[in-house]
Amino acid sequence: MTATKAPTEPPAQRTVRRPGDRIFAGAARGSGIFILLVLAGVAAFLISEAIPALTAASSEIPDGKGLGPYIGPLVLGTLLGAVIALLVATPLAVGIALFITYYAPRRIAATMGYVIDLLAAIPSVVYGFWGLAVLAPKLVPFHAWAADHLGFLPFFAGPASASGRTMLTVGIVLGVMILPIISAISREVFSQAPALHREAALALGATRWEMIKMAVLPYGKSGVIAGSMLGLGRALGETMAVAIILSGGAGATVNLISNSNPSTIASNIALRFPEATGIGVNTLIASGLALFLITLAVNMLARWIVNRRADFSGAN
């Protein structure tokens, strides 16, 4: 075989292409590309606008101490508030979802579902005023108690705030705000736990709680994580409620119950942007970039947690 002949082209298969198929495929592909473009655009805007602040001399940054010391406390404040919110909301939301799906009589369950969804529809500014006017004064005694009894923890070092306008209050308000998101998604996945596996657990002699532990929670775990991350995203980015309650601006501290608190990125941008000029604007955008990266990291972490045991997820 010295001269190899080019293999003859197989006769072109004429597959029928229906217009509806092509339109739908094009529309779907277009949507997919569009969302990527939007994301890339936002990232490009944040980076290009943040560069002047990243390269500026420390003295040019507002407060005059440099970019790191400016953004650091904001990042800390953002994470603190969001983590408290998550710690408050996740167990409560899982409990609510389990109650609605497996414990409550059907009529009560339906009503409760609506009420929880209603919580999600309340604008965040209302939560802010509620936190300021109702919750903060109510929490003042708890602040004092925590300072007295838990003062050995850096979180409760005190001195206790007399107004209740603290990071702790903010975290709890944020927790109430994200509660409906997490519980709605958890409820959805719990109610889809296969009857097949629930009956398998019951037939082995599981009590209702053991059945939930064996067949419902493992099945719903990834949903709970996904819901928590959605909630965390909202808590990280929440602006109004935090801006109303918190008189931020103090440096980095993990003390949750004193009057001096770090602000959060989003509320700091909202409060300062109207008066910012020049490099101050770039600094605020740089802090926005930091928020963007935090959210990205949180979502990737959640993805990784969900995928880690994909074999055992029950999806196969």
Binding site: L202, A203, D311
Partner: protein, 259 residues
């Protein structure tokens, strides 16, 4: 270990609907009892009433007596959870817990009993149960892999291993082979014959050859019409049912002249 089951005047309801009426039956220990009959005649419902799985469905209840070795399952103060720990069940579709490994699936029921077991005792139990279910050789190298990665027949044998790991007194099987191919079906039938030595087995099946092959006694359920409760028409040794049934309806059903 194996126990006898005496059912007297059992009526089973879904809410106000009477699904099964007036069942009287005595099931011998160490036997396989097959329940046959057309769809909707109440044989699965009856089977589920034997370990109180029936009442998992809201509004479902029974009247009458189910006595296992002198203990009334529906007596006052009897906890359905305890009943189900004594009476194992295998379902129509294989249902190993997808989030658990093969090993964890087998010991799932034992862990529920919350008796602390040594690791070595647990390993022995897993091996014994999987051998009892004729699955050990196929899975011994991948006990930590998910049970959902097995074939349908293997999954069903895993479910049987899970059920027998807790050493129940009775094993209920609700059409255990209807989702399986003939080879897996044969494997499960052989297994049932072995398990008969240790357990009282009650099986619901649509496959009359299967009933004839494996069972010692057969009960035929039928219903008079849509909306009527199902009844136990005839209960006799399998040989008699398939060669010389007492009731015309039984003969019509097993010879295919149904309706």
């Amino acid at each position: 270990m194996a126990k006898r089951i005496d059912v007297s005047d059992l009526d089973i309801y879904y809410g106000n609907f009477k699904a099964v009426e007036g069942v009287n039956i005595s099931i011998e220990p160490r036997s396989i009892t097959a329940l046959i009959g057309p769809s909707g005649c109440g044989k699965s419902t009856f089977l589920r009433s034997l370990n109180r799985m029936h009442e998992v469905i809201p509004g479902a209840r029974v009247e009458g007596k189910v006595v296992i070795d002198g203990q009334d399952l529906y007596g006052a103060g009897v906890d359905p959870v305890d009943v189900r720990r004594q009476i194992g069940m295998v379902f129509q579709r294989p249902n190993p817990f997808p989030t658990m490994s093969i090993y964890d699936n087998v010991v799932a029921g034992v862990r529920l009993n919350s008796t602390k077991m040594k690791k070595s005792a647990m390993d022995d139990l897993v091996e014994r149960s999987l051998k009892g279910a004729n699955l050990w050789n196929e899975v011994k190298d991948r006990l930590n892999r998910p049970g959902s990665g097995l074939s349908g027949g293997q999954q069903q044998r895993l479910c049987i291993a899970r059920a027998i790991a807790v050493e129940p007194e009775v094993l209920l099987m609700d059409e255990p082979c209807s989702a399986l191919d003939p080879i897996s079906t044969l494997a499960i039938e052989d297994l049932m014959t072995e398990l008969k030595e240790r357990f009282t087995i009650v099986i619901v099946t649509h496959n009359m050859q299967q009933a004839a092959r494996v069972s010692t006694s057969t009960g035929f359920f039928n219903l008079n019409g849509v909306g009527q409760p199902g009844r136990l028409i005839e209960f006799n040794p399998t040989e008699k049912i398939f060669s010389n049934p007492e009731e015309k309806a039984t003969e019509d059903y097993i010879s295919g002249r149904f309706g």
